[in-house]
């Protein structure tokens, strides 16, 4: 399998980062998870951490090296996360109305197909790249009141973007209401397709630019750039924001044999870093160096 993954999670203007991002791969399958622990509830970050930990643990034990049933795996694991968070809250004697909660979007890529499932308003975008389906974008439907109003035709898309209730979700993991878990049908991937998982702190301020920027630049550059843009747009009180993006590359019959001969284990045979990517990374780090009134060099 040939793919590139870039990810970043930022605290925004908050005191703690309640977002969690993780990915894990065998030689033949990749799991990606993003969870947004919910503010206003005690220990949202614990709920998000439970989500990520549960996915990682189950993927480790079930993916050998493929998952027998990706859709089943996703649905079962999301339910398990919900139960685990509820048990945690009970053990800590946290009243159910204040119990930790999290949204979650998880995606499995194997056999050239992507499967995903979600609860809440963390999103997945599938952006078709160079293949025949080029131009199309698929995204998850938020489990939010605002999205429901848009679907019912009682609210315009533009009004939804600024609606005071836009952060309210009707489905999440943890808490006293059983979650609505939505499993999407698998989609065949084409060379150059992008899969982006993100929290509302990232997608909400970005709008259309999320997709256009991801299409335009290499991931190593676009992911930090998009989060910069989201943070700037959201201002001082920016929400936690996380973005994980995979670029899928179709297997190339001419290089497959050579890959097999690499001296590194398959999970380390990451996409090679190009000269341009090295320059971009160096430039990015140089930009981040804080001004130092005492440092003569820099």
């Amino acid at each position: 399998m040939n793919y590139t993954i870039a990810q970043e999670s930022r605290i925004g203007g908050r005191e703690i980062n309640q977002d969690r991002v993780a990915w894990l791969a065998t030689a033949d399958a990749v799991l990606m998870v993003v969870a947004d622990g919910m503010g206003g509830h005690l220990q949202g970050e614990v709920a998000a951490q439970i989500a990520v930990d549960t996915f990682i643990e189950r993927f480790r034990s079930e993916a050998k090296t493929l998952l027998p049933d990706p859709a089943g795996f996703l649905a079962t694991t999301l339910n398990l996360v919900h139960q685990t968070i509820v048990r945690y809250a009970t053990a800590c004697r946290i009243p159910s109305h204040a119990a930790p909660r999290t949204t979650c979007i998880a995606c499995v890529v194997q056999n050239g197909q992507a499967s995903w499932a979600h609860a809440g308003d963390s999103r997945l975008y599938l952006i078709h790249g160079r293949g025949p389906g080029s131009g199309g974008v698929v995204r998850t439907r938020d489990h939010s009141l605002v999205q429901r109003m848009v679907d019912e035709g009682t609210l315009s898309r533009a009004a939804a973007a600024n609606h005071p209730m836009r952060n309210r979700v009707f489905s999440c993991l943890g808490g006293d209401v059983a979650p609505h878990i939505e499993v999407s049908p698998p989609v065949a991937l084409e060379d150059g397709d992008l899969i982006a998982l993100c929290t509302d702190g990232a997608w909400s301020p970005l709008g259309e630019s999320l997709v256009s920027e991801l299409r335009r630049s290499p991931l190593v550059a676009s992911v930090p750039k998009l989060l910069d843009a989201a943070e700037n747009a959201a201002g001082l009180r920016a929400d936690n924001l996380s973005l994980l993006v995979m670029r899928w590359e179709a297997p190339d019959p001419d290089t497959a044999t050579r890959d097999m001969q690499l001296a590194v284990p398959p999970e380390r045979a990451l996409a090679p870093i190009s000269d341009e990517e090295i320059d971009l990374a160096v430039a990015e780090i140089r930009r981040r160096i804080p001004f130092d009134p005492n440092g003569a060099s820099s």
Binding site: A22, L24, Q49, E284, R286, R288, I289, P290, G295, S297
Partner: protein, 310 residues
């Protein structure tokens, strides 16, 4: 892969306006040099040079990277970038300051501020442990200010040990060497370069059954405090998992330090991650939550102007 050590850059070598003076330290993945910038200010320069996959002989500057090791070299390069990103995002008096980052000689260089002083390791050795309580509290409060900032950026240091805590001549600490640092949320594939130091690494860094988090660095801070009293590292966590022989600080130094300090050290060194102070601020609060009953025996301990060195 290669086992012999790579040669350091020669003395008086000049690069990007820096004059290299000498090698300060060498690790498996990098060489750190003392150098001077154009104004004569001393700086520490870390050169990415993974020993196992690069060859640089006497008098050579550009390393040879055999093509079969290019993937490993690149993988490490990405991790070196992570260190660069980690440090440049941090601007705190108790965290080492990055001054420059550049690419040259087929590799990359991280330039850091160099300050006079010594490592906590050398300081502990010089005193054979038994550091005084006021110094302990003030110094670790400062180190925890820095660590809190690190965690606040979503980073874990993961290799805190006395050799990686620099003491300025005024006694204030600076956290060094973020070569093992990782974003707390970055739970990628198994880390081929997992780095840890026995005695300071938390049990979850060995068994992998619990997510690494701020509590992992807290264990290491506890081990540093223990070492500051004992003169050496506590029993390694992997050994403790089999047969825990670590004498609690309260038992070992019960009459010489305040119960509060000793209890705090023991809390940090708990095997279960959830039973340790969960973050730097919590540990600071625990360290500094004095009541009269908590004062050490004798009257020599006076209240300190805590916290910090900001």
């Amino acid at each position: 892969m290669f086992s012999q050590n790579n040669q350091p850059l020669p003395a008086d070598y000049e690069l990007e306006g820096y004059r290299f003076e000498r090698q300060l330290s060498v690790g498996g993945f990098s060489i750190v040099y003392l150098a001077h910038d154009a104004a004569g200010t001393p700086v520490a320069i870390k050169e990415y040079m993974p020993n196992a996959v690069t060859l640089r002989g006497e008098g050579q500057v550009v390393p040879v990277i055999p093509s079969e090791f290019q993937a490993d070299f690149n993988h490490g390069l990405k991790l070196f970038f992570e260190e660069g990103r980690a440090l440049t995002g941090l601007d705190h008096p108790n965290v080492v300051r990055v001054l420059n980052f550049f690419r040259a000689n087929e590799t990359v260089y991280l330039v850091m501020r160099f300050e006079t002083g010594q490592t906590l390791r050398d300081h502990i050795r010089g005193h054979r442990g038994r550091l005084a309580e006021p110094f302990m509290r003030k110094m670790f409060t400062g180190a925890l200010d820095g660590l809190g900032e690190v965690h606040g950026c979503g980073l874990l240091h993961l290799d805190i040990k006395p050799a990686n805590i620099w003491l300025r001549t005024d006694g204030s600490p600076v956290l060094l060497d973020f070569g093992a640092a990782r974003y707390a949320v970055d739970i990628g594939p198994p880390e081929p370069r997992a780095m840890y130091t026995p005695g300071y690494a938390a049990p979850e860094q060995y068994h992998g059954k619990f997510t690494l988090g701020p509590w992992t660095d807290i264990y290491a801070i506890g081990a540093c405090m223990y070492a500051a009293l004992a003169g050496g590292a506590p029993q390694a966590a992997d050994e403790r998992m089999v047969d825990d022989q670590l004498l609690p600080a309260r038992q070992r130094w019960g009459s010489q330090y305040s119960p509060r300090l000793l209890a705090t050290i023991d809390e940090c060194l708990r095997m279960e991650p959830t039973r340790r102070p969960q973050h730097a601020r919590a540990l600071q609060a625990s360290l500094n939550s004095d009541t009269d009953a908590d004062k050490p025996p004798g009257s020599w301990f006076s209240r300190l102007g805590l916290p910090g060195f900001k």
